[in-house]
């Protein structure tokens, strides 16, 4: 296999500027929304004292989970020795960092008092990682996991791009791979630790997040890779495209398997079967719709067909499949995060609970435009940073044509 020649993408064409302008406009809309939210308070959003995490968290958690998944292509190439994917590694690393950045920006802008973050001494966060707090603030832990991820993947990228450091890249990839597993597990645990809430009270949630991350990350990867090659006139051969297509299909199938296990487990627990489980899956509400139509039909079955059935061989099919996986992922987060809060907690087992603030009743929520714009701006930030990185760094191989990546390939 030839060593690929990496080059920057050009940054002067009208197309490039148009793309950047659109992304900046979306980011601007999101940032302005966040400012209005801080000026007026969260009162203008759909969030309440019952639904305390709204649409921004749906996007943010999706992106954070997808970030570690985007690193997969690099991990497959180096940790698992699949050299076909090797030329794609740098893009995979860069994307994993920019996706994480997009997710974190949403989280920070959605805070009630982001400025207090600056007042909280770092030691407070570090304190949360002390042994006596290990079972405590997973949020504090995640802070370390996120910054560590950026740092490690950054070093991994540096070792990969700079020739004389190449020899360390393998070790770095191993560390990055383990770290990303920890990161997704940690994100899953944010919910796993909320013992009071039935929807999250499952040991399987953290591993499920890891499996979901594979599909979400790869989908975003395809959504960047294919247009990047098409719009810059670089060649992207069928070998790579078909590999990615198959891989996405396998990841989506694995995710489906975990989703089925999780739901079956919940049905076996009698208390949950006619409580939260019934509510989320058969409640005839926006959550059950998001589950069946968004997550299962659009986000799982359709992409499975588009990736694994022999009839769909085009790039367009892979793009659509990837888009659908993203829609499915956002739906899944909506069901888990918002649906999980909407269902009332069983505060007094054996009692019907009522109060003016709606204890015991299903909480209503409808997303506001501010929240949606803030969420979308996270995706725009991810893409903006990714395009910017491709423009200043040499991370894209000039050609991924079949003959360049697979010498045994006969056209």
């Amino acid at each position: 296999m030839k060593t690929p020649r990496y080059t920057e993408i050009e940054g002067r064409s009208p197309g490039f500027f148009a793309l950047m302008a659109v992304l900046i406009a979306i980011i601007g809309a999101g940032v302005i929304s966040a400012f209005i939210m801080h000026g007026e308070g969260h009162i203008i959003t759909g969030m309440t004292n019952r639904i305390v995490w709204g649409t921004p968290h749906v996007f943010a958690v999706f992106l954070i989970v997808a970030a570690s998944g985007a690193l997969n292509v690099a991990s497959i190439a180096s940790v698992f020795g699949r050299t076909v994917y090797k030329p794609l590694s740098p893009l995979s690393m860069v994307l994993s960092m920019t996706i994480l950045a997009g997710g974190l920006v949403i989280l920070i802008l959605d805070l009630g008092r982001p400025e207090h973050l600056l007042d909280v001494p770092l030691t407070q966060f570090l304190y949360n990682t002390m042994p006596e707090r290990w079972t405590h603030s997973v949020f504090g832990w995640n802070f370390i996991l996120y910054t560590g991820f950026m740092f490690i993947v950054g070093i991994y990228l540096w070792f990969t791009l700079v020739k004389r450091h190449n020899k360390y890249a393998k070790t770095a990839s191993m560390v990055a791979f383990l770290w990303r597993l920890a990161l997704t597990t940690g994100t899953g645990l944010i919910f796993g630790f909320l013992v009071a809430r039935e929807a999250y009270d499952a040991a399987i949630l953290a591993p499920m997040f890891v499996v979901l991350s594979f599909a979400y990350g790869l989908a975003l990867f395809c959504l960047v890779l294919i247009p990047a090659y098409a719009w810059t006139g670089r060649e992207l051969g069928d070998v790579i495209v078909n590999r990615l297509r198959k891989l996405l299909g396998i990841f989506v199938a694995a995710a489906l398997y975990f989703v089925i296990i999780l739901n079956l487990t919940n049905f076996y627990s009698a208390a949950k079967a006619d409580g939260i489980q019934n509510f989320l899956l058969f409640g005839g509400n926006s959550y059950s719709q998001a589950f069946w139509i968004g997550q299962i039909l659009l986000g799982t079955l359709a992409p499975l067909a588009l990736t694994l059935l022999p009839g769909f061989k085009s790039r367009g099919a892979l793009i659509i499949a990837s888009l659908l996986v993203v829609i499915g992922g956002l739906s899944q987060m909506y069901v888990t995060i918002i649906g999980g809060q909407a269902f009332p907690m069983d505060m007094f087992p054996g009692k019907i609970v009522e109060s003016v603030i709606g204890d015991g009743a299903i909480a209503e929520y409808s997303a506001s435009l501010y929240e949606i714009l803030l969420g979308l701006s996270g995706i725009a930030i991810t893409l903006f940073l990714a395009v910017f990185a491709m423009n200043v760094l040499r991370i894209l191989p000039e050609s991924l044509a079949d003959k360049d990546i697979d010498p045994h390939h006969s056209a």
Binding site: H42, V52, L111, H116, Y127, F139, L194, I357
Partner: protein, 211 residues
């Protein structure tokens, strides 16, 4: 495992959950006499504060404790009342037994849990538990992430969704707050004073709230 944890958090309600007994005991209840704490002395674990609520005495049509609390602490809605987003430091909850149909009401506020999940999850340690058992939020450290609200099993916390008006003690939009057990009263330099809800309940003659 987590079920045990929930049970642990709920333990103070076990007595209450059965129709026979009517007691809800907040943790850290002490039954010895309380001596005034000199003003310069920090909160210590010598005294552990708690509320003892006799659900059988709580009158279903009475809302005095709620009003008293919100007047005392300046917790008033900024605009017109909106139960979904207004701060509720204390609220009345109606409980109907699924089997017997027995109806009770109780005031519901922060339980100042023995092992508070809100404190466990707080990333900035703004949520804290004093030595004397009172669980508080440091408004200057709270970043408004609402993780504590996700963790609280009693919906006891409120997020401040809009600018506050007529505040008496520091409150702030974008932070989280909940019952303080009237720390300003129990820390009174001349000796602890009953929290406002307790005072109101006793004055009403229901005496559901011996402090």
């Amino acid at each position: 495992m987590s079920q045990n944890k929930v049970d642990q958090y709920r333990r103070q309600f076990l007595a209450q959950a059965s129709a026979v007994a009517g007691l809800s005991i907040a943790p850290g209840v002490i039954l010895n006499t309380v001596h005034a704490k000199p003003a310069d002395q920090a909160a210590s674990d010598k005294n552990r504060w708690g509320l003892l609520i006799d659900a059988n005495k709580c009158a279903s049509n009475c809302n005095k404790c709620v009003t008293a609390c919100h007047v005392e602490n300046g917790v008033v809605p900024a605009g017109k009342i909106n139960y979904k987003t207004d701060a509720q430091w204390i609220r009345k909850v109606k409980l109907t037994d699924r089997q017997t149909g027995h109806v009770q009401t109780i005031p519901m506020m922060c339980q100042h849990c023995a092992n508070p999940p809100c404190v466990d999850v707080c990333p900035t340690n703004a949520s804290m538990k004093r030595e004397d058992g009172v669980v508080l939020v440091d408004k200057h450290a709270c970043i408004g992430c609402r993780y504590c609200m996700m963790a609280c099993p009693y919906n006891a916390r409120s997020y401040i969704h809009e600018e506050t008006t007529e505040q008496k003690y520091p409150r702030g939009k974008g932070t989280v707050e909940s019952c303080t057990l009237c720390v300003h009263r129990i820390d009174d330099p001349n000796g602890p004073i009953d929290p406002a809800c307790v005072e109101a309940c006793n004055a009403e003659g229901h005496k559901a709230n011996p402090f």
